[in-house]
Symmetry: C2
Subunit: 282 residues, 2 copies
Amino acid sequence: MRIGIVGLGLIGGSLGLDLRSLGHYVIGVSQRASTCETAVDRGAADVASCEFTPLETAEVIFICTPLSQIAPTLDQLLPHLAPNAILTDVGSVKAPVIELIQPRWANFVGGHPMAGTAESGINAAIPHLFQHNPYVLTPTPQTPEPAIALIHQLATSLGAKLYTTSPEAHDRAVAWISHLPVMVSASLILACQGEPDPAILSLAQALASSGFRDTSRVGGGNPELGLLMAQFNQAALLEALQAYRHQLDILMDGIKQSDWQEVHQRLSTTQQARPAFVKEPW
Amino acid sequence: MRIGIVGLGLIGGSLGLDLRSLGHYVIGVSQRASTCETAVDRGAADVASCEFTPLETAEVIFICTPLSQIAPTLDQLLPHLAPNAILTDVGSVKAPVIELIQPRWANFVGGHPMAGTAESGINAAIPHLFQHNPYVLTPTPQTPEPAIALIHQLATSLGAKLYTTSPEAHDRAVAWISHLPVMVSASLILACQGEPDPAILSLAQALASSGFRDTSRVGGGNPELGLLMAQFNQAALLEALQAYRHQLDILMDGIKQSDWQEVHQRLSTTQQARPAFVKEPW
């Protein structure tokens, strides 16, 4: 197949590496000429350019830009699509992307490959990034069946574990397990950093170890990513935050009232509940 | 030196392994005969028994029981101490332990070696557990200088990084970086687990990956440990929780108001603040 990839970062580049090694012809598009060169050099695309014209021959196009770039990308991309071209994206929030693209291109399937590393950019692209990782498709009742089937097949060929759900269910699920943790974790850093006694702050910094490191990791990450989560998944994230705050309040209340039975019971619940979320990596 | 260790779990056992390899004679005490046997077999003690009598010849005694067992242990231990014996402990909260022991045994120095693994018990004991890790001493104005000097020297000989501070400063610092993260992380699990739609809950469980895994780790741990933190460090933990809740509220408010500049600024602050807490492991 002739497959277009718009946006040659970690996800787009890794997708290109895998799709090429599966025998597809990959046409890359990036804003930067140097990224295009690197993508071809690294084997992530057969050809790559800053122009959208070469995508006229593509049967499938993956939009792999950051969420905030999908709208402007679409304006440039649509005039160059073949009439039957199937469009998909890899954005981490689905409802707003579908709202944006579906009215303008019917042959579109929202997708979210849930894979990543701590790095970003074309130089971070690696083969088999998606293998054994979830890949969520979020078709709507309007999405054409052949388009769903084709993207499902391509994602399966990457070795990913496919899930199909509504955009709203996806966004709610990722609010819980991906976007809420960022805000919870960021607030932890902000609270600790707010210690007014510099001697205690510097002791806390010196004593912090694996518990703090793990709990603060996603909150101390790239602020642009956290911001995009908040902007694009605002409603679901706020609902998750409110539920979180309610749980925090109950726990605080138990501690304040010295209701140790209640505190113990809640901490036992978390110990029992966590394994269902945390599978061993195959 | 003749050194007593009361409580032969991960910390007591690892301490025994190191102290013996430094040439000290280690007298172990545990409630369980089988633990005593294992401790001697594994080289964590020269002798070990369920009786406190052998501690009459010990020059230094480490109390390595769980926090909740320090009070009953003390009643059994004190009648057997030599008049000049120096007492120390390894509890993770210091003010209540010092309140408990100092009035009954003047020659006492509170201590907190901040080391551990995911395991517990004598079979989890390992050599060099304390090496390169913080070891906090919390003397008070009443603590005899020679006792401080001796425990400082022993802790240094384990390869630990020594810190000396007041019990209150210690408890406040560990509330921030150790006890607050547990409650923050537990509340995350409770919130996610509270999703009312079973299909979305099971999707969230399927999609959860490293971000959720790390942020939820300490909240899904041993509930007894979390409970002890809450019980023994109640005041400092509640203060930390209130500060945390305040930070969470500000962040939630920014998201609710779509004040993206504010949200971005706060997430940038966390990215800048985290490295001071998270040093590379030497």
